[in-house]
Amino acid sequence: MGDGKENISDNARNALSELGNIGAGNAATSLSVLLSTKLVMSPPHVDIYDFNALENIIGGPDATVVGVLSLVSGDMDAMLLFILGVDDAKQLVGQLIGEDTDWSSEMGMSAIAEIANILIGSYVASLETLSGLKIRYGQPSLCVDMAGSILSVPCIEFAKISDKALLINSQFIVGDKEINGFIMMVSEMHSYDVLLNKLGIGGING
């Protein structure tokens, strides 16, 4: 595309991976305490995706997913998006408030929103601690819909500055239940630069 955004440097990639790792690690610990169960986290992926490839990470554009989005503001602007497949949402609600609770009931939804809130909160807290940036995050908003529709929200933000989206992506496996959830941080390019500068790396390209 000639916009240079594919040229994310190895340094920048490693730093963002590490941030994602620590952020998601702390988030995972919080969730593990809440569910009183073991929680395994896969190493985060930092990658640049074509808009159309993004949807396929989460089971295709028409797969129904639960998305919880929180806006991050302050020294950097970003979105944190927590995504769960429907089966995973069922499992998570089952573990949290009991197998007989309907995940899509008000009770189930508020449990998922609370989990997302905790995950997002710990993610933001580690970002703040590591970077020294002042970051606020807003009340998360929850939505159950097609993966494509939900992902279009961060994609649109990205579309303003690039034809591709940069994602820090972490995956969780809870207990023996293999609940797969994703946390994505999607930020404006200049916010990545702010963040990487604070960590002593020039910016996204170098």
Binding site: M1, G2, D3, F51, N52, E55, P61, D62, T64, G67, L69, L71, S73, D77, M79, G138, Q139, S141, L142, C143, V144, D145, M146, A147, G148, S149, I150, L151, S152, V153, C155, I156, E157, A159, K160, I161, S162, D163
Partner: protein, 162 residues
């Protein structure tokens, strides 16, 4: 055998009956179908943002309502279909997440997209025959040039034909 042609995000394509054309998972984005009922040819563009002139990174014309619609009209013109023969059906422009107070235009991008699409189509003199826009849910759309019907699918709701 009739094919179903899939259009991705910030992408466009055309089809002729008996083929159909589809785009999956429209959120705040909008799918614009332009069709000619006589030749039974239709085109679909999946736009993300309202205005290419407000954005520096605007090489990809299909990302925007203004330039995306222009490109699709050009493509259909090149197939011998004059702009005056074209009709439009549109879907999308939802507000997927709601925030009580937000300084970003995150919540309103769907509405801005709807306005921009309508403005562009009006300026080209293309009539909108049907629409399913706004509200708070995602949409998958399938257009059949044979019948000029647009099927709109949502999660947990019956299909809607417009």
């Amino acid at each position: 055998m009739a094919k179903s042609i899939v259009v991705g995000i910030a992408d466009m394509n055309v089809c002729k009956a008996p083929d159909t054309i589809t785009t999956i998972g429209l959120g705040s984005c909008i799918g614009i179908v332009l069709y000619d009922g006589l030749s039974k040819i239709a085109g679909l563009v999946h736009i993300m943002l309202p205005d290419s002139t407000k954005i520096k990174q605007n090489q990809n014309k299909l990302k925007f309502a203004d330039t995306g619609i222009e490109e699709l009209v050009k493509k259909l013109n090149s197939m011998g279909i004059g702009t005056s023969l074209l009709h439009a059906k549109i879907a999308g422009g939802a507000k997927m997440f709601s925030f009580a107070s937000s300084t970003s235009d995150l919540g309103s991008i769907g509405d801005k997209n709807i306005m921009a699409v309508k403005r562009k189509l009006m300026s080209l003199g293309i009539r909108i025959e049907a629409e399913d826009v706004g509200l708070d849910y995602g949409r998958t759309i399938i257009f059949d040039p044979e019948t000029s019907q647009l099927t709109v699918k949502h999660v947990g709701k019956d299909n809607k034909i417009i």
